[in-house]
């Protein structure tokens, strides 16, 4: 740690401040909002001069607000917690337990990148999106703080140097673009567009082309956004956990410590099947609310074999394809005429795997030790057919594992067996502080 840094650290009981340029970025956001509102109002009868002065006024107001909020934000990293004090009028002091850390993300929006700044987000289970955002720090400081937080969370000395990493997976741009183009929504849009143009030409009703606008508005930005967001997608492994980096304009580098992945979903869209590609999403307890979908992607597109190899690193000892799946009886046809043949479920001593989807095949993998609850459900028709469904509840996220339309007796046996497997796995689970030695079975960890 440099001398200047030490000095900054020492003022006010070890509390540190965010980067002094923070107010300008915050101010820029208010300015952008003002411009956006002004542009909307521009169609009204408000004069241009008035508009410009309003936009002009928003700049000092934004900066003043940003400065006040910067002045009143302090953070301190303790042995086992992070304290964050914020608020101009309403003061808030928050304590985040580091052993409960679910993920640490460093996010660099475009403007912050230009200034060499980054936002550090600590994700803990429960609560809304990102409970303790540190925006903004210098890139250096963010990097160092991340390493320090992870070291402390792991139960190591805080000055432990940043752990080395090994790259597990990189997604080439070409594959990313092709995968995005191979989407039913996008192709459907193009077909509809061609259809609209043909109808327009045939009928001579040019006003019909107006319908093309909403199509384009809906699909094109989503597709472009997907490519931009997942640009340069890299997954690496280190003793800190998984490191995921991606983004063209706004870059994001996520660190998910070991044992924080609750469940995994492997999605194979219909149009990717010929290439053998799949997408991998994970449930991480810290990723909730807005931005969950973006943060939960472990791999946007990869050949299935590569994706499964990645999974074997993320969940050591888990081999998804080695788990034998059993299908459902033909009577399930009456409840799911299209997809019933694709339904399957199986378990080994680490995970329970379910498969659904005739066209887009979805494989959900739930770790026994992470299971929150099990539900057995049977509707009226199911009872007539002698079937029942089992739902496996995990923390909020993309994974929603359920074994639909199993023979009723088997379903109940599955519930009982899964509860037992979960109990055994929980008692063998590794401690929250993943570098500290395990204390034997039935570790009495503290409740949240």
């Amino acid at each position: 740690m440099s001398e200047a840094d030490q000095k900054q650290r020492d003022d006010r009981d070890g509390f540190r401040r965010l980067h002094p340029l923070t107010p300008f970025i915050r101010g820029w956001k208010i300015f952008a909002a003002a411009v956006a509102i002004a542009l909307q109002q521009a169609y009204g009868d408000i004069g241009t001069g008035w508009l410009l002065s309003a936009i002009g006024a928003s700049i000092p107001i934004g900066i003043a607000y940003g400065w006040l909020s910067w002045r009143n934000t302090h953070y301190r990293v303790g042995d086992d917690d992070l304290r964050l004090e914020t608020g101009v009028l309403r003061k808030r002091s928050r304590r985040v337990r580091l052993d409960r850390l679910q993920a640490v993300d460093v996010v660099r929006p475009l403007v912050a990148r230009a200034l060499g700044l980054a936002e550090l987000r600590l994700e803990v289970a429960g609560g809304g999106s990102s409970e303790a955002p540190l925006a903004y720090l210098s890139e250096d400081a963010a990097q160092r703080l991340r390493a320090e937080l992870l070291a402390r969370a792991a139960g190591l000395h805080h000055a432990t140097p940043e752990a080395p990493e090994a790259v597990l997976l990189e997604v080439p741009l070409g594959r990313l673009v092709e995968a995005t183009l191979r989407s039913v929504a996008l192709i459907g849009m193009l077909v509809s567009l061609v259809f609209l143009i043909v109808v327009t030409v045939v009928t001579g009703e040019w006003s019909l082309l107006g319908f093309a606008v909403p199509f384009g508005l809906a699909v094109v930005p989503i597709s472009v956004g997907t490519v931009v967001r997942h640009f340069g997608f890299t997954v690496a492994e280190s003793p800190d956990g998984l490191r995921i980096r991606h983004g063209l304009l706004e870059t994001r580098s996520q660190t998910v410590p070991p044992g924080r992945v609750q469940a995994v979903r492997v999605v194979e869209p219909w149009l990717w099947r010929s290439q053998g590609w799949c997408r991998v999403e994970v449930d991480v307890a810290g990723y909730v609310g807005e931005g969950q979908a973006a943060a939960s992607v472990l791999c946007p597109v990869a050949p299935r074999a590569e994706a499964l190899a990645l999974l074997a690193r993320v969940l050591p000892g888990v081999d998804v394809d080695a788990v034998p799946l059993t299908g459902v009886p033909a009577s399930a046809f009456w409840l799911d005429p299209i997809g019933w043949r694709s339904l399957g479920v199986g378990a080994d001593d680490r995970v329970l795997v379910t498969r659904t989807g005739r066209f887009t095949r979805v494989t959900d993998v739930v770790l026994h030790e992470k299971l929150q609850s099990v539900r057995l459900r049977q509707g009226l028709v199911q009872r007539r057919l002698g079937l029942a469904s089992v739902h496996l509840d995990t923390t909020p996220g993309p994974v929603n594992a359920s074994a639909a339309h199993r023979p009723a007796a088997e379903a109940r046996a599955m519930v009982d067996a899964e509860v037992e497997r979960a109990r055994v796995s929980r008692s063998l689970a590794r401690p929250d502080r993943w570098m500290s030695p395990p204390t034997g079975p039935a570790t009495p960890t503290v409740t949240r």
């Binding site: 052993d99 409960r100 929150q372 539900r375 509707g379 509840d393």
Partner: protein, 161 residues
């Protein structure tokens, strides 16, 4: 052959039949207002329509009476060594198993009408939103006992998320 919704060894602990009384009163209260309104409307058309509406309405209320009884009788729970089981439902049946160690917190709630009838609801929360394990129609003393017991067992078996 054993049924899929059989209790786990020991029999289900059922909820208070007073819950059925409460729900029936609520049903009849709301149903009667609606029925009177509809009958008056029908009477404007013809007397026979009014009679038909009244008969159908009373039949529906009677059916509701039976359904509520069955629905309340379908609720049951069982405390095992490591987890709590809750079952419910007549047409759509459900069985939830929540390990004590997965419980984040337990709520006991009782609205004004519940209190009049001496009833309370215990709701279990886990880190998964879908878990949805609640037990309505408990006598307050039993609700409090269950809450404390769940909390104690949860603490003993708790693990991180």
């Amino acid at each position: 052959m054993s049924e899929p919704f059989d209790p786990p060894g020991e029999p289900w602990v059922r909820v208070s039949p007073k819950l059925a009384t409460l729900r029936r009163l609520l049903n009849i209260g709301a149903g009667a207002v609606l029925l009177v309104g509809l009958t008056v409307l029908a009477a404007m058309a013809s007397t026979w329509a009014a009679v038909a509406v009244a008969v159908l309405g009373v039949a529906a209320l009677g059916w509701g009476w039976v359904i509520v009884g069955r629905s309340v009788r379908s609720w049951g729970y069982a405390e095992r060594a490591e987890d709590l089981l809750v079952t419910r439902g007549v047409l759509n049946r459900q069985l939830v198993v929540v390990p004590y160690g997965r419980m984040q917190f337990v709520d006991v709630t009782a609205g004004p009408l519940d209190r009049r009838f001496g009833l309370a609801t215990v709701q279990l929360h886990t880190a998964a939103a879908a878990s949805d394990a609640q037990i309505p129609g408990l006598v307050p003393a039993e609700a409090a006992r269950l809450r404390d017991r769940l909390a104690a067992r949860g603490e003993a078996g708790a693990a991180g998320v």
